[in-house]
């Protein structure tokens, strides 16, 4: 059967299974139907909720303005799907094309989309993680519990890790009038994602808003009372802190455990796939009926030296899901590459932070508009003489312009005379990212590919 006939037939009566019923899974399902897929569609999700949006959980929900169960995502259209929610996928049989579920059911597919996302990295010591008052923030249930706790008026909240989630939590706590201490292993908040120059601005913002920010510090243990309630945190500088609540913001872990032994190239860094969202198997051969999208995927991007990017970005989940869905029901030349330029936002301490490109690739940074000291600026990151990323504080309207500079490999430092260019920002300085081989709270962009000019990872074969 010719390929396009097979694709037509699949479109009409194929069986698609989507594992992961969050943003990427939902948008993929909508795209399949929009593009004329009329076969059977099964949505599998381990959480018992309808697909919901996560960004509000660390903002509106923690401010007590929105209930955690009011963040359900709108549906662009009718899906006519069979939903299996509240039951996790536990295994994949590639040869027989089946997904195994926790309740014993096996679901057959012709094509599979894996969008299982990531989960919060828990506190490393299980007995301490179980203390009443120790939280993570990833799911609606997490947010609901934390919101209730914050509403009860704890004396002091400890946030462990000053990445985006940790910083937004600290911001919400201050807005609620709560005392908060932030402990960050690195030299500044957001340093893994935006580097030390912008990290210093984030640090100042936190302190100006009354956060007790402690950098270069780790939390070594959490101590509970007889009733199992959190009472105290011990820090690496030998001090102790009396706290009622600790929120662990140490990044996320990709949900790939269920794929162990499946034969797919799945591991702690996610599932490797090509730019068309097709998963690689363990031999590095691309599969033709297993697709990946969202936080769990890592795929090569020509704009960034064909490095494999793993992006924990809302926009990536949407864009990659749409490409994956399109490619699932298309053949040959109709297929599209996922060439989305990474972008994300954060709102914290009253400032709207936006980024485009891949800041951690940046060697140097130059403030192109505004001034760091005014908390209102745009800065561009340079890599090998071209613009590779930009970040804006309360200057969102410029981000699209910088995206086009990145897409066109515009020279760095930029040659244009930008609006509100200041003489003091004109000289590029080192972007000051921490050594990527050192553990951090988890940057939102992970570079894990090889380019001939550098080597950031060491290949360690698994031992039998």
């Amino acid at each position: 059967m010719p390929a396009d006939t097979a694709a037509r037939e699949f479109r009409r009566q194929g069986r698609v299974v989507v594992v992961g019923a969050s943003l990427a899974g939902l948008r993929a399902a909508e795209t399949l139907r929009e593009e004329g897929f009329t076969g059977s569609l099964t949505m599998i999700g381990d959480e018992p909720h309808d697909p919901y949006d996560r960004p509000p959980l660390s903002k509106q929900v923690l401010l007590g303005r929105t209930a955690a169960d009011d963040t359900e995502l709108p549906r662009r259209r009718r899906l006519d799907a069979r939903w299996r929610l509240g039951v996790a996928a536990t295994g994949l049989d590639l040869a027989d094309r089946r997904v195994r579920l926790a309740d014993g059911e096996e679901v057959e597919f012709d094509r599979l989309l894996i969008a299982t996302g990531a989960r919060a990295r828990p506190w490393f010591r299980e007995s301490e993680a179980a203390l009443d008052g120790v939280f993570v923030l990833r799911t609606a249930d997490d947010a609901s519990r934390l919101d209730r706790k914050l509403a009860a008026g704890p004396r002091r909240v400890l946030v462990v890790g000053a990445g985006f989630t940790g910083s937004e939590i600290a911001s919400a706590c201050r807005e609620r009038g709560l005392e908060v201490t932030v402990a960050e292993r690195g030299p500044a908040p957001l340093v893994g994602a935006l580097g030390g120059v912008v990290g210093a601005v984030a640090a100042r913002l936190q302190r100006e808003h009354g956060v007790d920010l402690r950098c270069g510090i780790t939390v070594t243990s959490l101590e509970g009372d007889m009733a199992g309630r959190l009472r105290r945190a011990h820090l690496s500088d030998g001090t102790a802190l009396d706290v009622d609540v600790a929120v662990i913001g140490l990044g996320a872990m990709r949900n790939t455990k269920w794929l162990a032994g499946s034969g797919l190239a799945a591991g702690p860094r996610g599932i490797a796939c090509d730019a068309g969202c097709r998963a690689f198997d363990v031999h590095g051969i691309v599969t033709d009926d297993v697709f990946v999208a969202g936080d769990v995927a890592r795929s090569p991007h020509p704009l960034f030296g064909y490095q494999f990017l793993s992006l924990e970005h809302w926009g990536n989940a949407v864009a990659q899901a749409e490409v994956a869905a399109h490619n699932m029901i298309s053949s040959g030349l109709e297929r599209r590459p996922h060439l989305w330029v990474p972008a994300f936002w954060s709102a914290q301490f009253g400032v709207n932070i936006k980024s485009v490109g891949v800041p951690p690739m940046g060697e140097e940074i130059v403030v192109t508009q505004g001034a760091l000291g005014e908390n209102r600026f745009v800065a561009a990151y340079g890599y090998q003489g071209r613009v590779i990323a930009a970040v804006a504080f309360d200057q969102a309207r410029w981000i699209d312009f910088y995206r086009r500079l990145i897409e066109s490999a515009a020279p760095f430092p930029p040659v244009f005379a930008g609006v509100d260019r200041r003489p003091e920002g004109a000289r590029p300085v080192p972007a000051d990212f921490p050594d990527p081989s050192l553990p951090t709270h988890g940057p939102t962009v992970t570079l894990s590919g090889y380019s001939p000019s550098e080597r950031r990872l060491q290949f360690t074969p698994a031992r039998a």
């Binding site: 309808d50 949006d53 960004p55 509000p56 903002k59 509106q60 401010l63 303005r65 929105t66 009011d70 963040t71 359900e72 995502l73 709108p74 549906r75 662009r76 259209r77 009718r78 899906l79 006519d80 799907a81 069979r82 939903w83 929610l85 809302w314 926009g315 949407v318 972008a343 994300f344 936002w345 709102a347 009253g350 400032v351 709207n352 936006k354 209102r376 309360d394 969102a396 309207r397 981000i399």
Partner: protein
């Protein structure tokens, strides 16, 4: 332009689910003028919104969707299911 949203079908009127693509949002605040109960500015240009608008805000939200200069607001489509239970 009126944008059809879930709840128009068969006279059933339910809360509207919405999401804003905040990568796209540039803080023009048209939504905050048109539907102040649902959208508010938080600081200079960060948008904060209620992901579920009540019946009373339906018309406002529909106007905000149409007025957004960067078309960043998505609401339930006219034929979207209200719950997942349609085709179990």
């Amino acid at each position: 332009m009126a944008v059809p949203v879930a709840g128009d079908v068969e006279g059933t009127r339910v809360p509207v689910r919405l999401v804003v693509d905040l990568n796209r949002c540039e803080g023009y605040a048209q939504c905050a003028f048109l539907a102040p109960d649902v959208f508010t500015m938080h600081g200079e240009e960060a948008l904060m919104y209620s992901p579920r608008a009540g019946q009373a805000q339906r018309e406002q939200v529909i106007r905000a969707v149409a007025a957004c200069p960067v078309q960043a607001i998505t609401v339930d489509g006219a034929d979207a299911e209200e719950t997942r239970t349609d085709a179990r």
